[in-house]
């Protein structure tokens, strides 16, 4: 029998340690190595997939960014020339700003809405499972279709939103949602939030459902208010899930070009230009794969820092 659980964590009080565990502890030094081998074995399938399918393209993308490479033609090594060209362009800095704003606001809104909805759906209610299914809809629709649909809703001349507002009398003029420099980014973020909130709602809800009711009941008896219960029971248990969801969603939001591509194409006048879209236009519009890779990678450092920061607490073994 192998046991890799650390008895020191489970039984901080030395006197209460049962004999089987004492026996297990004696074998601790041996079991560490077995533990490692088991871990590698369990991780092997996932790692094979990643290394085989993603590592090679990943590395080739990095190498690509150091080349001058048009589509279909051989590449020529140019070192950091692509990056130099990128940093000289004034659109680059606007793109950085836009991407940060777009990601930060989008993720924050998704988080708040997702958590609120998860808490609400965790309440007892008839037809809760139907409501959960309905809130899942944005994920059930392909992103391309959702974006096209929203583009039409926001359309200035024949869009649903304008028509609704004019019919109801809330406004007399047509509002150019996606063409107005002040509104465009907000509209894009609204669509991103619409599409991405179910991810948060569902992951948080699953976490909430795994918290035993007894904990809340015990706290209730102890006289804790709802807010205190939330802060002291719910949040600690969900912390890892919070961090994981935010981390994954941040990366996905920051690297998703579909919404900008279909809604605004970076306009009006670069107000909604974000990295992934710029990379796409460069790689496939201008057909400069090397430059496109450089644009994509230019945003990496920020994301890498974010990942390391967010995962630091998550990956430390000593807390629960």
């Amino acid at each position: 029998m192998t046991s890799g659980l650390d008895p020191a964590v489970l039984y901080p009080d030395e006197r209460a340690v049962p004999t089987p565990v004492l026996r297990a502890r004696r074998r601790l030094s041996l079991t560490r190595r077995h533990e490692a081998r088991l871990a590698y074995a369990l991780l092997l399938p996932a790692l094979l997939v990643i290394l085989g399918l993603v590592a090679y393209p990943f590395v080739s993308a990095v190498y690509l960014s150091l080349q001058n490479k048009p589509v279909g033609a051989p590449g020529r090594f140019v070192g950091l020339a692509n990056y130099a060209e990128l940093f000289r362009d004034e659109v680059f800095f606007q793109t950085v700003r836009n991407t940060i704003v777009y990601t930060a606001v989008g993720v924050s809104l998704k988080f708040v809405l997702g958590l609120t909805m998860a808490l609400i759906l965790d309440q007892e209610r008839r037809f809760n499972n139907v409501f959960r299914m309905l809130l899942f809809v944005p994920w059930a629709v392909p992103v391309v279709i959702a974006a096209l649909n929203w583009r039409w809703i926001f359309d200035d001349l024949s869009g649903f939103l304008n028509n609704f507002l004019i019919t109801v009398g809330l406004t007399r003029d047509i509002i150019s949602w996606l063409a107005d420099p002040r509104l465009a980014m907000g509209c894009v973020i609204a669509v991103v939030v619409w599409q991405g909130t179910p991810f948060y709602t569902m992951t948080f809800l699953a976490g909430l459902q795994a918290i035993p009711r007894e904990l809340y009941e015990a706290a209730e008896i102890d006289g804790a208010s709802v807010v205190r219960q939330f802060v002291h029971i719910t949040v600690p248990r969900l912390r890892t899930i919070f961090l994981t969801t935010v981390m994954l969603s941040t990366i996905w939001t920051a690297t998703n070009l579909q919404f900008v591509l279909i809604l605004t194409r970076g306009g009006p006048a670069n107000r909604t230009e974000i990295f992934p879209h710029l990379a796409y236009v460069t790689a496939l519009g201008a057909r400069r794969l090397g430059m496109g890779a450089a644009v994509s990678l230019a945003f990496f450092p920020l994301l890498v820092i974010l990942i390391i920061l967010l995962t630091r607490r998550m990956l430390s073994q000593t807390d629960d």
């Binding site: 192998t2 081998r37 790692l47 589509v71 391309v144 583009r151 001349l157 150019s176 306009g267 496939l284």
Partner: protein, 442 residues
């Protein structure tokens, strides 16, 4: 994976497997170019009507049979426009592009410059020997270094789709000049329900086409005929841009939301009867033919109004290209030849309901075209029309300018960022110059 106790041998095996897995793809990619079982691979872009698609498919298989191929040796893949660029890029990079595909304008030159396309000058010459021949304008679109690397399939003018019923209602004629055009629009429009001019101003290809078309009428252009000297910052261009600015800002004949339109924006505006004039290829007309005959009856197709320097009309071209990385080039050339036999070709042209305008001049004499008064300007437009890269010809540089929306961004600098036209044109000039310079070095 059951027991946790792995022996050293197992660990070693694992390490080797992982090593192979990571580096394996490298060897594989380097080694092969993907073996091909198919002898003829045709990528079909939707031809606008299901009937045209069907006919084209039949023609492919007819040709294959006549060339002695089995059905299983032919690959007929339908690829949508969305994602065509990605698919072709990936296929080229992997070393197995299709044998024949339909290419748009400067894409022919782009791939020809990299040596990917077969020289098809002889096929084009054969077409020119037909009675009345083909439109010369279609030849500029497929030429590179004096040879033809594509076979022109359709020459498409970009007429003004006009609501003739509204003109009648207000007792107005179709405007002859841009000044008249503005006046006419102001008279017949009633915003927000109806705008005069549905000019596309979003960050899409249609905008480059619409804007340049107008600038030409004011004597402006993007690049000289030598395909080297960029002249974007000319006073003529500035004059034209000022006219667009007036249309948008002071006269308000263009809907404000046009800044956010994509290529279908002006289609939608016209089809929903909210714009009286739009500049677009006959995709709108063909759509009306299918789905809104009422509006079709009220539509007229006209050349673009004249500016101080006259009228210049835009045309764009589609061509068939044959890719060189093809073990059976004769089959590819044979297929294109088969498509372009006038009888086969005419069938497809007619089945697109006016979306494709034929390359063979003779076909314009057929009842299909003669019976439609709205097409009476088309022959002259096809003869005298110029590509969007005027005064230059389609080149990889021109294609990059179009695909990266440099000119729409210039217009948006003026209309959204409130830059003075000369300043915006200066920035635009610099960027286009960079593109042309870079493409020269290659």
């Amino acid at each position: 994976m059951t027991k946790a106790n792995m022996t050293r041998r197992q660990a070693l095996k694992t390490a080797v497997a992982v090593g192979l897995a990571t580096t394996g793809p490298w060897w594989l990619v380097r080694g092969s170019h993907g073996a091909r079982a198919k002898k003829l691979v045709f990528w079909q872009l939707p031809n606008f009507t299901p009937l045209a698609d069907q006919l084209q498919k039949e023609q492919v298989y007819e040709f294959a049979k006549s060339a002695g191929l089995k059905e299983s040796e032919v690959e007929y893949a339908t690829v949508s426009n969305e994602g065509f660029a990605e698919k072709l890029a990936a296929a080229l990079e992997a070393g197995n592009p299709p044998d024949v595909a339909r290419l748009y304008e400067s894409n022919v030159q782009f791939y020809a410059a990299q040596g990917h396309l077969l020289d098809v000058t002889d096929l084009v010459d054969k077409m020119r020997r037909e009675p009345k021949g083909i439109f010369d304008s279609s030849l500029t679109a497929v030429r590179y270094s004096g040879r033809a690397y594509g076979v022109p399939l359709a020459v498409n003018p970009w007429p003004v789709h006009a609501r003739v019923d509204l003109l009648e209602q207000h007792k107005l004629d179709y405007p002859k000049t841009w000044d008249e055009f503005i006046e006419t629009c102001m008279k017949i429009q009633s915003p927000p329900r109806l705008f005069g001019f549905g000019m596309c101003l979003g960050l899409v290809e249609d905008t480059t086409d619409n804007v340049m078309n107008l600038l030409w009428c004011y004597g402006g252009k993007m690049v000289e005929a030598d395909n080297k000297t960029v002249v974007m910052n000319s006073p003529e261009n500035a004059a034209g841009v000022k006219v667009i600015e007036a249309m948008f800002r002071t006269r308000k004949i263009i809907p404000q939301g046009a800044i956010g339109w994509d290529n279908s924006g002006n289609n939608k505006a016209y089809q929903s009867r909210q714009a009286a004039f739009v500049m677009n290829p006959t995709s709108i007309y063909a759509y009306l033919n299918q789905s809104d005959q009422d509006l079709q009856k009220r539509t007229g197709l006209f050349p673009v109004p004249a500016g101080p320097k006259g009228t210049v009309n835009l045309i764009d071209t589609w061509a068939f290209g044959a890719f060189k990385q093809n073990p059976y080039p004769e089959l590819a050339r044979g297929l294109i030849s088969y498509f372009m036999q006038p009888a086969n070709y005419d069938k497809i042209i007619q089945s697109t309901g006016g979306r494709w305008v034929p390359v063979y001049k003779r076909l314009f004499d057929s009842p299909f075209w003669k019976s439609k008064p709205e097409f009476k300007h088309f022959v002259s437009m096809a003869e005298t029309g110029v590509p969007v890269s005027y005064a230059g010809s389609p080149t990889p540089a021109a294609g990059e300018v179009l695909n990266t929306h440099i000119i729409p961004k210039m217009i948006q600098r003026v209309l959204v960022d409130n830059w003075e036209p000369p300043r915006a044109l200066e920035e635009c000039h610099r960027r286009i110059d960079e593109v042309y310079a870079r493409n020269r070095k290659v």
